[in-house]
Symmetry: C2
Subunit: 297 residues, 2 copies
């Protein structure tokens, strides 16, 4: 399941709880669009801000609404004990895989990061995707650390941060990592603005934020890259540059949250405080960007 487009939906959330109907609708749209998998409770799904009970409920809703499309559930937490509980809950809910980022408060040593994956993979009965996201975890994975973790049982995929802009450098980056991990472990792109470049460079999957709301657009980029049409994948991604600019400036989560609201798919606000909705001028920029890029449904 760690190939093709993995779409990451928002979890619309207010101070009084999760908007379950909005969430289920978001997931159903992804399944209907034909994505390869659904990544619920990723960073875009706000996993870090929800309680264990909320996360178990969202996992169950995701599996139900996915209607047979494999669902991967984010199980990250600051403490190993919590991660183990969340892994159990996700598996009970019917998750086909779990996604684990090493969340930090105290900075972790390499041995502590490895120990987390060792403790968790030992207990799993579904495959795990290693979630390397230095922007949120502040963990800098070395390739050597990836190599150690990728040998652990049940590790099936790695979700890496944005590849370099230059295609040759992007390919060198993927090749260097690939040389250190088993053949059975796939590498997936993230950082939507760099995803076409990542797919063209050899990533087998795209863990996509934009795909969580605009699956057809993200699938077109994915299919072009999968067919070896690098230039077309790049061109399709470049057409979304007005959106990528907003992602870079405001963070993809806040932008997708506002886009969901503009599409009538989520209430306003739909992010858990202290996160705030996009400021009004940025919402106007977003509306213009969605129109100019044709992202209107």
């Amino acid at each position: 399941m760690f190939r093709g487009l993995s779409a990451f939906p928002l979890t619309p959330t207010t101070e009084s709880g999760i908007d379950e109907q909005a969430f289920s609708t978001l997931v159903s749209r992804l399944a209907a669009a034909g994505v390869e998998s659904i990544g619920a409770l990723g960073s875009t799904g706000g996993y870090a801000y929800l309680t264990r009970e909320q996360r178990a409920r969202v996992a169950a809703l995701a599996v139900e609404a996915a209607d047979g499309v494999p669902v991967m559930i984010g199980i990250g937490a600051l403490r190993t004990k919590q991660v183990l509980e969340l892994a159990e809950d996700a598996q009970k809910a019917g998750a086909s895989a779990v996604l684990l980022a090493p969340m930090t408060y105290q900075a972790l040593t390499e041995d502590e990061v490895f120990g987390l994956y060792e403790d968790v993979t030992r207990e799993l009965s579904v495959p795990l995707c290693v979630y390397d996201n230095p922007a949120t975890t502040h963990v800098k994975f070395t390739d050597e650390l990836h190599g150690r973790i990728a040998q652990l049982p049940n590790v099936a995929a790695i979700k890496i941060p944005p590849v370099p802009d230059d295609p040759a450098q992007a390919k060198a980056r993927i090749d260097a990592l690939r040389a250190l991990i088993p053949d059975t472990v796939t590498i997936g792109a993230s950082g939507d603005f760099a995803a076409a470049n990542g797919l063209n460079a050899g990533c087998e999957a795209w863990y996509s934020v934009v795909g969580g709301l605009f699956p057809t657009t993200a699938l077109a980029i994915t299919r072009a890259a999968q067919a070896g049409n690098d230039a077309e994948a790049t061109a399709l991604s470049e057409r979304l540059e007005p959106l990528w600019q907003l992602f870079r400036r405001y963070g993809s989560l806040r932008v997708m949250s506002a886009a969901a609201e503009q599409l009538g798919l989520a209430e306003d606000p739909n992010l858990p405080r202290p996160l705030q909705a996009l400021p009004l001028p940025a919402r106007h920029e977003l509306a213009a960007a969605l129109t100019s890029t044709g992202l209107t449904a």
Copy 2:
């Protein structure tokens, strides 16, 4: 209460729970030594790794064992809603003050950080200390942001990161911040190796990790600085350089955890996984450092 030595004890924790007796003993030692206040559930107290129920219990134990010495309780969490619940719990437990760091997963904007303090201070009936700790939260407070937050109701103190090594630069740093905050708000030093320098530069308080285990030693530094004996405060701190070196290399939490174990005040291990105890060679270095600095009780 935001003056003098505020000592931050560990919360000895294993995978099966909190070692309540060890925690209460640590707090009692601080009260008996005559510290001005006790900062329970700070970063050293592992607040980020404990459940709401555990934190409420630790707050109650701290107030009881402090025997009248004011207790400040860390109420940080990723979500505003959780922080508000923790504030309520801390106040119910008898806390004299609360300590709030803007924990992050998604990076927060300045307005989001301000909004967090605005939402929380509005609900408080005890004073709050703003906890500026970029090493754990990755939030970079500007002085302008400190100035805005310090105007909020119930804000009584700011705990700042280490001041510069150079005494003149340290004083300039404190003076610059002081110019932007009300006279009623005190500034406190942290980063133990820079604390004497911070006190000499005009900090009214020291929020101390080493003081959580060795209160007499930290009090001697504090009293020297309070009496205007800058050179003595500096000399007393410099004597602890072998310990400061270990703090810089391994993090003060892991070092104090191992020191507590070497003193017979906590079991081994006593940190929540994924955090791991100091590796064996570092423990030997620590034993030597404790002996050479006279930190043996």
